[in-house]
């Protein structure tokens, strides 16, 4: 560096700057690449140890197991991008699954009605959280923790220990959870569609970019005239909608549900998002990363089962991998910042 500052940069050197910049930019993208790489390594390693991991049933299980988590992680990322958090998703899933279940029990409602009902319920929950956060201007963690209890309580009070039985759920709804098109189950397809749509919106549309702006610097976003309150409200409504939708899918997949079906899932979802490289402080990351994080968490669980690891070890190993992923992400980000700083220096 010191030599280049001594002599004036000759003209032919200018093109040489190009590859360096693209390197830094690649490192930026590596964040998703590294999670994807870890995922591929994990899948390959498990497959080598036990080939049945990747037979058609194994792949199907993997996709089905991760579908709902991917969906929830997508919704959560949109909120996390705005420097907020939604801890109520687990309880929304439970409430929605139970509500949908009791709605269709013993009737012949179609799958579409159920999905609409679940989504509607989720939007309602999301709007309440969102309104409290955006218009009350209060910490999101506190509000959504409160909403977690309220929604959970409503679900429990309503269910009163009852459960929905698969036998009462119409076949049309159950088919949604177990059916497939060209060998690919519906659930992961639906998740992929929602994921792609969200990613496209965040990347391309003004509203999506504004979510990033809000998360990066709320003050700057406010000065730039971005309608922060409306955007945050919308983000929560979306997260709620996805959670409610996931609840309906939960019913379709399992048939038998209780009101606290997804109890404790909020932290799993946040884990997936964090592992996926979204900064908990907002403004950084993509939903692709979050989806990869969700996929990674699910795959770790499945791989440990296939590798016949003592189930008591499963959670501990997941915890270590989680920490490793967070640390690795931090190191990559640090390197990137360094690389960018070097580039900027004359």
């Amino acid at each position: 560096m010191s030599t280049s500052t001594l002599k004036p940069p000759p003209a032919p050197q200018a093109p040489a700057e190009r590859p360096r910049r693209s390197l830094a930019e690649t490192v930026f993208r590596v964040r998703e690449l590294s999670i994807g790489g870890a995922l591929v390594l994990l899948i390959l390693g498990t497959w080598l140890a036990n080939p049945s991991f990747l037979d058609s049933q194994g792949v199907k299980d993997l996709l089905l197991n991760s579908a709902i988590l991917v969906l929830l992680a997508t919704g959560q990322s949109v909120v996390v991008l705005t420097r907020n958090i939604d801890l109520s998703v687990g309880s929304v899933v439970g409430l929605s699954a139970f509500a949908c279940g009791s709605f269709v029990s013993g009737s012949d409602h179609s799958a579409v009605t159920v999905l609409l009902l679940g989504t509607g319920l989720g939007v309602l929950c999301g709007l309440v959280s969102g309104a409290l956060v955006s218009f009350g201007r209060v910490p999101a963690l506190v509000v959504t923790l409160g909403m977690l209890y309220v929604i959970q309580g409503i679900g429990h009070a309503w269910a009163h220990g009852d459960q929905i039985n698969a036998a009462d759920v119409p076949q049309g709804v159950l088919d949604l959870g177990s059916g497939s098109v060209l060998g690919v189950p519906y659930l992961p397809l639906i998740s992929a569609v929602v994921l792609t749509g969200t990613a496209y919106y965040l990347r391309t549309y003004r509203g999506g970019r504004e979510l990033y702006a809000i998360g990066s610097s709320p003050e700057a976003a406010r000065l730039a005239g971005i309608p922060i309150r409306r955007r945050v409200l919308a983000a929560y409504a979306f997260s709620g909608a996805v959670a409610g939708f996931a609840g309906a899918l939960w019913l379709a997949r399992f048939g038998t549900v209780v009101a606290d079906a997804a109890n404790g899932w909020e932290l799993t979802v946040v884990s997936a998002v964090v592992v996926g490289g979204l900064a908990i402080t907002g403004g950084v990351g993509t939903v692709w990363g979050a989806a990869l994080g969700a996929l990674l968490l699910t795959t770790i669980g499945s791989a440990l089962v296939v590798l016949k690891v003592n189930p008591f070890w499963e959670q501990a190993i997941t915890g270590v991998l989680l920490l490793a992923a967070i640390c690795a992400d931090r190191v990559v980000r640090h390197r990137t910042t360094e690389a960018l700083r070097k580039r900027r220096r004359p």
Binding site: L132, P139, V150, H156, A316, G319, I326, R330
Partner: protein, 326 residues
Amino acid sequence: MNKYVRYLRWDTGLGILLVAVLLAGAGSTEGFAETTNLSAALNDTAEIALIALPMTLLVVAGQVDLSVASMLGLSSALAGALWDAGWAFELIVPVCLLVGVLGGLLNGWLVTRVGLPSLAVTIGTLTLYRGLASVVLGNKAVADFPDTYAQWASYTETVPGTFVPYPIALFAVLAVVAAVVLHCTGFGRSMFAIGAQEQAAWFAGVRVKRIKLVLFAVTGLMASFAGIVYTLRYGSARADNGLGLELVVIASVLLGGVDFNGGKGTLGGAVAGVLLIGVLNNLLTLNDVSNEIQVIVTGALLIVSVLTPRVIAVLGERRQRRTAAP
């Protein structure tokens, strides 16, 4: 506006609310004011109360520890496994506490040295410690702990002359210590400084990293101690003890008016928050209100607790604007 807020501080309001609820409960609910009930109600909050103390300091310093309930479970599982292996209980306790400190140090190290946000770190260690707990004890349950210690933790044994059970008596002592540390020492002021503006605190010479590390270690220590209390109180060591308790602890602290963004809050408020949730739950149970409604009440209280100061502030601003307008 300052004057307005000063007289309507949330934590003093909460203290008044607590007294009001106590009086209302004594007046309306039979059996509430009986000493055995009060002992039981207090003792039911023991673990939450104990963990809430260091958690308050941590949140004031702008950090959070979600791994406390997992550490409680790990400590309980470890106590069970060692007891099963024939260790003396007097030896088990320090080992569990040491593990708690080590767990806290790991959290602190990841936050201060690696530079990760505490929310992300402790979500990771939440999974790790709970996993270690099930590695240590599997799905066994160990009971038959020595009577002297089980008695110590039960609500029937109280400090002579009062209705205060021993875990709560200990909590009271520790609460005073924590309050003095937080509000009367330079160490406590540093926590507020870190929570308010970490970089400014660092420039002002506050040893930010060391303080954070100490706070995480103390939180781990208290969580593992709460694990021992939990084990003795329920007479059962299990790997899944205290599952989900971290959110209840944080809810109590936040209800007490401690600002989640750091830099604001009082220990008295946090204690009032813990007690209010405990007393309300007890009252609702005595009145045959179902557990579900209790959960809803907790949630609603939490939301109200962050909204009220905000509403007061907005009203204050409005009043100020009206007086300033002409």
